[in-house]
Symmetry: D2
Subunit: 428 residues, 4 copies
Amino acid sequence: MMRPLNEEKVFKDPVHNYIHVQDTTIWRLINTAEFQRLRRIRQLGTSYFTFHGAEHSRFSHSLGVYEITRQIISLFERNQYADWPKEEKLLTLCAALLHDLGHGPFSHSIEEAFDMNHEDWTCRIILGDTEIHNILCEVDPELPAKVASVIAKTYDKPIVVNLVSSPLDADRMDYLLRDAYYTGVNYGTIDIDRIIRMLRPHHGRIVVKESGMHAVEDYLMSRYQMYWQVYFHPVTRSSEMVLRLIFKRAKELYHNGFQFEFMVKPIISLFKDQLNVEQYLKLDEALLQTAFMQWTTENDPILSQLCERFMHRRLYKYVELEPQDMDRIDEIREAFIQAGLDPDYDLVVDFPSDLPYDIFHPGDEVSQKQILLLDRQERLQEISEVSDIVRSISGLHRGKVHLYFPEEKLNIALSKFSPSITHIFKDY
Amino acid sequence: MMRPLNEEKVFKDPVHNYIHVQDTTIWRLINTAEFQRLRRIRQLGTSYFTFHGAEHSRFSHSLGVYEITRQIISLFERNQYADWPKEEKLLTLCAALLHDLGHGPFSHSIEEAFDMNHEDWTCRIILGDTEIHNILCEVDPELPAKVASVIAKTYDKPIVVNLVSSPLDADRMDYLLRDAYYTGVNYGTIDIDRIIRMLRPHHGRIVVKESGMHAVEDYLMSRYQMYWQVYFHPVTRSSEMVLRLIFKRAKELYHNGFQFEFMVKPIISLFKDQLNVEQYLKLDEALLQTAFMQWTTENDPILSQLCERFMHRRLYKYVELEPQDMDRIDEIREAFIQAGLDPDYDLVVDFPSDLPYDIFHPGDEVSQKQILLLDRQERLQEISEVSDIVRSISGLHRGKVHLYFPEEKLNIALSKFSPSITHIFKDY
Amino acid sequence: MMRPLNEEKVFKDPVHNYIHVQDTTIWRLINTAEFQRLRRIRQLGTSYFTFHGAEHSRFSHSLGVYEITRQIISLFERNQYADWPKEEKLLTLCAALLHDLGHGPFSHSIEEAFDMNHEDWTCRIILGDTEIHNILCEVDPELPAKVASVIAKTYDKPIVVNLVSSPLDADRMDYLLRDAYYTGVNYGTIDIDRIIRMLRPHHGRIVVKESGMHAVEDYLMSRYQMYWQVYFHPVTRSSEMVLRLIFKRAKELYHNGFQFEFMVKPIISLFKDQLNVEQYLKLDEALLQTAFMQWTTENDPILSQLCERFMHRRLYKYVELEPQDMDRIDEIREAFIQAGLDPDYDLVVDFPSDLPYDIFHPGDEVSQKQILLLDRQERLQEISEVSDIVRSISGLHRGKVHLYFPEEKLNIALSKFSPSITHIFKDY
Amino acid sequence: MMRPLNEEKVFKDPVHNYIHVQDTTIWRLINTAEFQRLRRIRQLGTSYFTFHGAEHSRFSHSLGVYEITRQIISLFERNQYADWPKEEKLLTLCAALLHDLGHGPFSHSIEEAFDMNHEDWTCRIILGDTEIHNILCEVDPELPAKVASVIAKTYDKPIVVNLVSSPLDADRMDYLLRDAYYTGVNYGTIDIDRIIRMLRPHHGRIVVKESGMHAVEDYLMSRYQMYWQVYFHPVTRSSEMVLRLIFKRAKELYHNGFQFEFMVKPIISLFKDQLNVEQYLKLDEALLQTAFMQWTTENDPILSQLCERFMHRRLYKYVELEPQDMDRIDEIREAFIQAGLDPDYDLVVDFPSDLPYDIFHPGDEVSQKQILLLDRQERLQEISEVSDIVRSISGLHRGKVHLYFPEEKLNIALSKFSPSITHIFKDY
């Protein structure tokens, strides 16, 4: 099914140096309107508020995931591993390239606010009336459905699903390296060449040669650090809170018949929960930023101020709740109300540990979420049975409750709080 | 005038590792709405079409310029160089931080299309009714005017102007390093620590210790390569051509009374040449991308197709004109017309060498555009008198004429061209 | 006491970019014969057998430790921290620069084989009739003794001792970065700028601001990985085993009156335990390598073969002992004897965990071996009380017993072993 | 002829990340005593005196050259280029790996002092009674002679010679990257992936696709800078001068019947010009450093002082001769004699431009020394015809005359010089 290009195409990439495209179908997929749209979706959502370099796009990341997958398959082919089904190459590469296609603008926040799911949208785009669907169909009318099933993890060859989505997949390897590169933090420097060289197709899944254990340990530690230093950084969380409040307020206003000075069709459909693929594809971060900028002058003070906060980076401040105050949230909320603040918009409680993050937990599930090591005797062992480090970190739970609030309003309210409530906010 | 922060603030930066803010005024300037807007203006305009990692913003670059300037002044102070006027520190840092404040979206293209100038806008914002103006005034009512005059190169202490704007200034040093980092090319790796250490304030300007000559040679070579490999890359130029055609068409339509489905106030003011500071500040790249995306469905095929090209990266193709064909442009244009193409929108001739790029030309001007070396006997020599390499490259002229055109239309037209015209397009 | 150089001197350094020397005394110390000798002592001993790039010297490392210390003190001075005794600057810098002065060739092995201690030798060189001693005396006749007391950890200002020697000292920071750089492994990439910025002099010791905790976690993890991936690598251990056997055999032969074809005075003194400072300073790795190369043709097969192994990298092979075989070492040794092998030279048992490595163990000691965090309320907490990660790794014990042996002899012996002994060696 | 290893072996390498060994013969060659000896020959000779990190060995470099060659051939095979003779793979890899095998200690200096040639020694070792010879013979009795002929550039398939030795060969690419890495200078950062991808076998030689021109320009500029910043650094040159004077004096003394306290056979043979392969292989840098250290106490003040200078880095100082003084060297020498200095040992005149360095000079030779570009029409052009930059630098001549001398003796002599001679030395 592969159709080699006359001449290999390359993209210059700071993370992988070059991204190599050798197949016509891959090249054509990259050049579709739907894939080019990923340039307008940031890989790390609002993290640029914390790490000003983090403006990189899901377009770059998707190319990176494709490239790592290409290198893995190329190594499998070179070594002629019997357990790798060669005929699945193009399907695997397409799934790797397209796995993030359905991400919306500021993905995590919009999904939570509007109860959407980017994997569903990925499948809808691949199966809908789109350029991508047409290109896949030209290769094989079954291909769109196959790609969608790999992404939905229902494809009947589990090794393909495992390669595209597992705790050691190309997705995670690329985002660690890429997010570290663009934020400038140095926790994400993993030895990807070594990890790739240690992967083995084995009885329907991808396992790791035992001698690669230390590289995997280092990778899991990097991921752990990136989660807490970057992905869950409280400033980033604060910007996400403000973003969700904007969504909440605007939707509320819309359903209450508020007349927006600025409104465009995809946002209306979003509010009405009637988005179709065509409108979804127009819903990019440029559009949301434009709407928010325009809304800074809307005639609703809550909305306009929230939009000002987001556009000009006047985020909510925060305190971390001490363990002994964990069960006083209702009391705090009550104090806010008593002080004349709006409990819906002036106080947000955040438990990042509630998020479905994917730090590895041994024992959670037998199947795809475990990393298995293959020893010289061809025995498999789950990594936390062998690695002290993995066992040590895998049970760790670092989530802390943060309270987010608008600084100016809190300052006014402070005088009305009881001392024990004031105490909670003393160090923000 | 400096007002030290209680505690130094830092920004994590991939290029300089950390950006250190030690003064309250600098910290407050960074947090203004006007400075935060620079997050929505890309440093390299449309270069992301060629180098997908090049999404970095003028916000990051401005912080970087500030940081390099801070390091230079700090070194001057540590060594107690007599020729450095210590009292100018805050002014210099403010000018370094704010020098790019007035850049518009897709700056080079919009400036050319609407005859604007970002330095004028920088000064208008600094002098207008803005948060930045107020913060500067609080330090000293004269400060806004002084900062503006440094940026306009009219400030009466030339050494301050020279530090902020010269062939070896912090601006150029930061963009070489930063653009190389985000594009991933490796031409921009200059030894900035050594260059900084070699700088000396000397009789009203910044000169370089002679032993820093090789580092400066390397810096000028890097700049030369970056111009031709990155800044003038034909794919980037193509996207700028499409962009200018969009501006041209939309303005044309607007003045002809065309009813846009999507239109917002700042764009109207842009078309009417009536932008004020407030509207200018809303004119960011998110707004233009949103307008272009909406215009893909406007009822004018020229505009909508140009917008599709820009949004989905269907850029114009190009050929490089051989020297013997340089004077045949009129003939080519005529052939396009004969073949039924639109010479205004289907053919763009580009001489990037016409652009006011600033590769160093010795002898051009005596004053601020030369790099002077200071030898052990305290004599000054212009660098190209001493360096073979600088002399060799400074006269080089590499600009080539490119023709840009829509591939599909050209393909149809080709059959109607004479063989000698066809020949010109044979290899695009 | 500082005597600034007319002009700062710099060394180009791959790890710190430049090493800055600003004081005459430091400059003169670097140029002594005793300090230049460190160029001929490798930082990582025999690790070059495992990581071919690891040829870097203790000279480079010592400059690096000096540079980090200089940066820390410079930051303390800039921030005018009250708890830092400014008058100790030169002493601290000298102690940082000279702390490794007494390292012998292949330091760890020679110390073990001849019961020497490099810290003692450092003090002997500083206090003896040496160029270093004279330069220090010229500044202050008490200075040599003070420097020696800092290195011996007996100096009466504990903060100086703590800065030069603690779990977060400049020594460890430099060697992690440097060893990672020269070996090419990427475990050692710590955020040294951030760690340095977080250090605070506090009541007679150096503590870490609480917000630097994550950077310290990352540093401890890096150290942990470097120990097991690099410093205790079994191939490196094997080369150290061969080295010790050479020392053992040569000393044995010497005391038995063997006539060496090649012998030089410092080695005789080493064997007789009569080394003086002058001879010790001639005992570098070039001398030992030369002796070993010459000894490849000595008339003792054990010695000549061991030297051949070391010079031509024909190291002993190894097996890792499974837990169930841990108490069978005597039995194994007996099998070797039965099979006609020499238990003294053909079998080495190695427990790297027995080595005095310094991975942080909370609770071990209260004083200098703990890392203390300083929170906003100026309270101190030992890091493992706060950090889940540190607590997790600090109890880990990874040492495993390895058996080392000459491959050819073992192969012959294998047929004479009982099956259960053969089984132990099946996978070497 | 290739005999794949059961499992690929890798070396961790800071420059190429991993070096991959896939063939049994290559693996066995690396493990010979002769190849392991290259660990004791520094890649950059005495450059460690200038750049303290430059302790890397020819062993590392040889592995790097092998790895680049492997990557190039692997790309040729993957693309099935017709002009590449596949059957030459093992020969080419062996020649790449072994091309530096005959380098002696402090190669450039010893070759000049004793009129030796490392390529001759490489061939003598390959053809002599050595482990390497035996391993090559086992593959094919003709192989040693073939490898030697590739290294001697007489092999009858010029494309193999061209791949191993040309202005764009793996040797030069590796040393630029490696020397830059270990010295820490950043001039050597070339885009090797791109250069490799642009190489094409074409009619018996290796050419470069035209679109790789900029990468080649950058590579040539890097080489130019490395020559002048690193390879010809005057401090390094000074140490080479001292080294040659040691060789000169010691040989002189030997032939005059001087009784050396320390002497070993390979050095005697060197002095008598009777080195055989066996002794040559013992002549490594450890041996020379040991001899020099021992000779610091020989009973000849000239020799002992020169050895002290070399061992303790008390190098000769230098001045650069101004153009107007270029023809006054005899006069200067005369002044030295008049002042009682020894013109043979107290004054060295150095023209580094006289050295056979290999900066590219277009037109010099038609055959192997030119870089040819292959355009879309399969036409070849010599690069300097197309590239302004290459044309600009290729004629440059930067060599300057330096005078080297012992500082203390010159200082005494200065008072006896005429003012015009004194003037020449005023700034050293």
